[in-house]
Symmetry: C2
Subunit: 137 residues, 2 copies
DNA sequence: TATTTATAGATAATATTTTTCTACAAAGAA
DNA sequence: TTCTTTGTAGAAAAATATTATCTATAAATA
């Protein structure tokens, strides 16, 4: 979090309270929130902060390589402060998005180069199923 | 294409020229067009057709199981008349979306169940890279 | 023929995200 | 400290993709 100030300074960006709070919140959660969810979560502490600030900030954080964007097929984006490429799973019943821990699929990139003439750089992998909580009900 | 008429009749849906043309176009192409691209492609033959009709028709086709929706991370959806679950690759330079032929990743669903408590039903897998044409330039 | 039903197209509405504008505050220079 | 520059928050408007509403029409049905 200290190198955060350094990184912002390097890019001539200001580490404002709003930016700091949004990044800290994303770092603290595994819920993969949308812009709206970030906005609601920080509203108690930042009642004057606008949704546009959330959007502008996550965009800044993405450009800095501090956050990645997930597109699980909803009508909005979700954000993740874990910038390593890792797979996610979406509960099709309640909508929650979880990490799949310890599962590594990086070998898929080179594997798939046998089936295409593309130069493959990365991939996005989303699983869909029913979460433990929804399996009960 | 004959069972198409039967299927529509079963569901009390009318196989209108617009619907037929949209489905036929999707069947004929491997370009994974967006609604806008479908609209533009059919405009010469259907100059009065509205974009709303394209949206309503692809939705209908999806409900019938004749078309699937792709979300490669752009600001819009793309559509595919190949409804089998198959992986795609996106050129990050020119934006084209191609099938990855013959590569099967269905085993991933059960494989990933070892790493999560979810009941896994399906997945979406998108690769990103540079297409042969863009590698040249 | 008369009537019902589905739908194309026009238009308005919705939702998400981006842009514009302005006042302000932090940082830097004098 | 004062002056000046620069970056940004927030408000509001705009842009974009998609969906819903409404009506005339044409096909299907009675
Ligand atoms: Mn994650
Ligand atoms: Mn395809
Ligand atoms: Zn659930
Ligand atoms: Zn390309």
């Amino acid at each position: 979090m200290d190198n955060l100030a350094t990184l912002f300074k390097e890019k001539n960006l200001k580490l404002t309270p709003q930016r700091y709070a949004i990044y800290k919140f994303l770092k603290s959660t595994k819920s993969h929130p949308s812009a709206e969810m970030i906005y609601e979560a920080l509203r108690p502490d930042f009642p004057t902060m606008s949704l546009a600030t959330v959007y502008k900030t996550v965009k800044t954080l993405i450009e800095l390589g501090l956050v990645q964007e997930l597109n699980v097929g909803e009508d909005n984006f979700r954000f993740d402060a874990n910038v390593a490429n890792h797979p996610h799973i979406v509960c099709t019943k309640c909508g929650r998005v979880d990490d799949i821990e310890d599962a590594v699929f990086e070998h898929l990139n080179s594997e798939v180069e046998n089936y295409t003439n593309y130069k493959v750089n990365t991939h996005k992998l989303y699983f869909y199923g029913i979460c433990p909580k929804c399996q009960g009900s």
